[in-house]
């Protein structure tokens, strides 16, 4: 039996024919990287290949690395295996990785969402035989509202807090969620202030996507500046001494996990907005269908449940162990800050 085009081993998703890894979790010689989040682009690989808009992002995170940037749909061949990158819509610079060899096509999604968020290039389904998909929110309980509805709620919340003389503090990962928030906050309400970790990342992204004016919070920022304005901060800032400057403030979190009533209360956050950079249940099912794939491999999230359902509706679906952190989505943010 010939080896599969992509295999899951101890270091990552391996293409033996090309001797290259996709999003490896252990250091390797050559890695094709889907996007800039810490669990997908790790430190220590000799060569990185990724979409050119992800290049400044991973350089910012990983320092001086050897990296080459590719265009969307640009085919590059390694040992006769054809690779190309296609928009995944997860965060800016996020790609699906298409692998073709001897007429067989596999696509690895990394992380993705099927809604246009206005920052990332929107997801495009890619035809393939085998589809390797994440399923972070692969449960029928997850059902997103449209981005327009969620941002109308977020902006109303800000407006209301302003009228009550309070500062709004909203938490989101510094790469991805933060820029999505910045892009859609209604700046006619007030000023946007940013935590240093978020401002650093946003500076990297400004040349790639237009962002509103923001003010970095520093030691010199006066306590009385915040009233009525909004602060965008990473989740780790919640409960830290840093936030005390913003009294009186109201907190909110923007994440798919906010679907669960318990998630918000457990974190003692005043308000939860359900805003995710992953597909919801229907989004996953629709995307899989659009690829035309017969074989589906689930990498992270509610993999056992989701692949069982896929089998019931007729796919040849299975689960592979990876070190991507779907089910621990809430922890992702913490890791990101530590890096």
């Amino acid at each position: 039996m010939k080896p599969p085009l992509l295999a899951f081993n101890k270091k990552g998703i391996y293409c033996e024919a090309a001797d290259v890894y996709l999003d490896p979790w252990k250091p390797v010689d050559k890695a094709i990287i889907s996007h800039g989040h810490a669990d997908h682009s790790r430190w220590g690989n000799k060569k990185y290949i990724t979409h050119h808009s992800n290049v400044p992002i991973i350089k910012h995170r990983l320092g001086e690395i050897e990296v080459s940037g590719k265009e969307w749909n640009e085919t590059f061949t390694i040992n006769g295996v054809k690779f190309s990158l296609h928009p995944a819509g997860h965060i800016i610079g996020s790609s699906q990785i298409r692998v073709e060899y001897k007429g067989e096509v596999w696509v690895f999604t990394g992380d993705y969402k099927d809604e246009d968020d206005g920052v990332a290039v929107p997801y495009e389904p890619v035809k393939c035989h085998t589809f390797i998909t994440e399923c972070t929110f692969g449960l029928p309980a997850f059902k997103w509202q449209s981005q327009a509805e969620v941002f109308s709620e977020i902006n109303n919340w800000w407006q209301q807090n302003k009228e009550n003389g309070q500062t709004s503090v909203i938490f989101g990962y510094s790469l991805g969620k933060a820029q999505r928030l910045l892009k859609h906050l209604d700046t006619s309400i007030g000023e946007i202030y940013t935590h240093g970790a978020i401002e650093n990342m946003t500076e990297v992204i400004r040349p790639l996507s237009e962002m509103p004016e923001t003010t970095r919070i520093t030691r010199d920022t006066k306590n009385n500046e915040f009233k009525g304005n909004i602060v965008v901060a990473p989740p780790s800032a919640h409960g830290s001494p840093w936030i005390k400057k913003m009294v009186a403030y109201v907190t909110a979190s923007a994440s798919g996990w906010m679907t669960f009533r318990g998630a918000r209360r457990r974190r003692a956050i005043d308000r939860g907005f359900v805003l995710s950079d992953h597909c919801d249940w229907q989004g996953l099912l629709k995307s899989i269908k659009a690829t035309g794939a017969e074989k589906v491999i689930c990498t992270h999230g509610y993999t056992d449940i989701f692949s069982r359902y896929l089998r019931e509706i007729g796919y040849d679906a299975r689960t592979e162990e990876t070190q991507y952190e779907g089910e621990m989505g809430e922890e992702e943010s913490k890791k990101e800050i530590e890096n």
Binding site: P140, F142, F260, G262
Partner: protein
């Protein structure tokens, strides 16, 4: 929240507004915001809806009209997902009503029906056929939006745990009506039915007749924090044992007996022993005490009492095997007068005199004796004897304290005996419920068998760690799962926890042969490896003779 200028008219009418209220209460941890939202609702909702809101928040729901198995079946059918997938989702979401609300598609139009209309329908639903029930649920699930659907389903399945205590609700009601909180607390006690009363009758009117069966709100103590000597001069304090039974009020008025448990449940029928009080204890008396099991003429264990609690029909045999007594702490009403504002020591004098008068009558009234002591050291020594006395520790009460309403700091303190502890190994984990659903926070612990070869399950615990510790452990469990059994996962034996518990007794029902009471985690023993955990034999040594 709506504009102030609408306050004049009844602006809150529908289920929509009640759902909005619940959402507001549920989405803040700040007491002031909760009280403000409730006050606004009580000022603006229609009277019938207000009565139901009070009933729901004080856990008076209509009986469940549909069993949950059917509801799960019908909900998965409506959501067009297989039953197993609904169950898996339920394990992860952790709350049935929330799962149903999440998996069913969004409504087009919000519902216009009022809260009381929904509740009347839910009451009427119980007697309907299965097909009618199904049709009713389908129709309403589809016509409500997400949060309304959640609230509607909650009304059918279970109680609301949204961090609104009775005290908080009473405060809001007091702000909305200008009636004193303690008076309101008293009015809301007892056995009223929301479908039979009105807001006027329940809350606004003075009505002597209604008071016949009513208990007083219980005064509850906080656990003592810090050194007992900080309470000051020992001569200002009274101490007695904290008995481990059911805190109750026994009422004799108009030759009738009423027994109330602390959960505000009328339990007169469950304890026929106390019927003997009528005619011996004078009318117009309310005694605060503890119902205790009294097999073979001495105080039994809580396990003995459990044989009485769950029973609807109390057989003669059971009455002989496990009779109960009332261990009296206090008297709240005497000769028809509310004496709660009298100093504790004066109320005790009345109680002790009453006890002396009826002692010869052979009624099951016992006195919770006050302990005599000269200094705090002697008090502490008595506390050490708690397990021998079959008590949980001591109650400390200021001699001049009035009988207050609810849990208050200052005059009364509970000083429990230190718990027993063992070090045990984490063996299984399950997702939590409520606040901690979707995290693995419900754990099973094992101790070594006497050969130290195998871990035997001895207790389950789900409290005592910080949120940060729970998250860390949850993360570890997800990476170290050995096997999955539905919602339960077995994990690599690795972590040792110090488990504390209040009581211990032999049990044939437990694999370990031992039952523990209130087990909880007190410390994550990262300094210990699993071979340093305790054995079952060492646990059995803790069972008192």
């Amino acid at each position: 929240m709506r504009e102030e200028n609408q306050d004049k008219e009844l602006s809150l009418k529908g289920m929509r507004d009640f759902a909005e209220l619940i959402k507001t209460l549920d989405s803040t941890n700040k007491t002031t915001l909760k009280v403000a939202a409730l006050t606004h609702y009580f000022k603006n909702a229609e009277d019938k809806d207000k009565v139901w809101t009070i009933a729901i928040l004080s856990h008076r729901r209509p009986p469940r009209p549909v069993n949950t198995t059917l509801m799960r079946e019908w909900a998965s059918e409506l959501a067009n997902i297989p039953a197993w997938l609904f169950e898996e989702s339920y394990h992860i979401v952790g709350d049935l009503a929330e799962t149903i609300a999440l998996v069913i598609p969004q409504a087009e139009e919000p519902s216009a029906k009022s809260l009381n209309q929904f509740l009347q329908e839910i009451i009427d639903l119980k007697a309907k056929s299965e097909a009618e029930k199904k049709e009713y649920l389908h129709e309403n699930w589809l016509s409500l939006n997400y949060y309304e659907r959640f609230v509607f389903t909650k009304l059918i399945t279970g109680s609301f745990r949204i961090g609104v205590s009775q005290k908080l609700m009473t405060r809001a009601l007091s702000k909305a009506t200008d009636i004193d909180e303690d008076i309101l607390a008293y009015k809301m006690m007892g056995n009223w039915k929301p479908e039979k009363t009105t807001f006027k009758k329940l809350i606004l009117e003075e009505n002597e007749e209604d008071y016949l069966s009513k208990p007083y709100p219980f005064y509850l103590a906080y656990a003592i924090d810090g050194d007992v000597e900080e309470l000051g001069d020992v001569a200002e304090w009274s101490a007695e044992h904290k008995w481990d039974g059911i805190r109750s009020q026994v009422i004799v008025r108009n030759d009738e007996l009423f027994v109330w448990s602390r959960g505000e449940e009328l339990v007169t029928d469950k304890y026929p022993e106390f019927e003997d009080f009528v005619g011996k204890v004078p009318n117009g008396t309310v005694i605060d005490g503890e119902i205790l099991p009294f097999p073979d003429g001495k105080i039994g264990t809580f396990k003995d009492l459990q044989t009485r609690i769950g029973r609807k029909n109390i057989s003669k045999k059971l009455l002989e095997k496990t009779p109960v007594i009332l261990k009296a702490y206090d008297v709240l009403e005497w000769k028809g007068e509310d004496i709660r504002t009298e100093p504790f020591i004066e109320r005790r004098k009345i109680l002790e005199k009453l006890y002396a008068e009826v002692a010869a009558e052979e009624i099951p009234l016992h006195l919770s004796e006050r302990i005599s002591f000269k200094n705090w050291v002697e008090v502490a020594e008595e506390r050490e004897r708690a397990r021998e006395e079959k008590s949980e520790g001591l109650m400390l009460k200021r001699l001049d304290s009035p009988y207050l309403v609810g849990r208050k700091k200052g005059d009364w303190w509970k000083w429990k005996v230190d718990p027993l502890t063992v070090d045990a190994v984490l063996t299984y984990a399950m997702r939590g419920h409520g606040r901690r659903k979707n995290l693995f926070t419900d754990y099973t612990f094992g101790l070594w068998d006497d050969d130290k070869k195998e871990l035997v399950t001895f207790a389950k615990a789900y409290s005592g760690l910080t949120d940060a510790e729970f998250r860390k452990l949850d993360n570890w469990i997800k990476k170290n799962t050995l096997e999955r059994f539905g919602p339960v996962r077995s994990v690599t034996p690795h972590h040792v926890f110090e488990i504390a518990f209040e009581g211990i007794a032999e049990s044939k029902r437990h694999k370990s042969g031992v039952a523990t009471r209130f087990p909880r985690m007190v410390r994550w023993r990262t300094d210990k490896n699993i071979h340093e955990a305790n054995t079952l034999g060492e646990l059995r040594d803790l069972i008192p003779d």
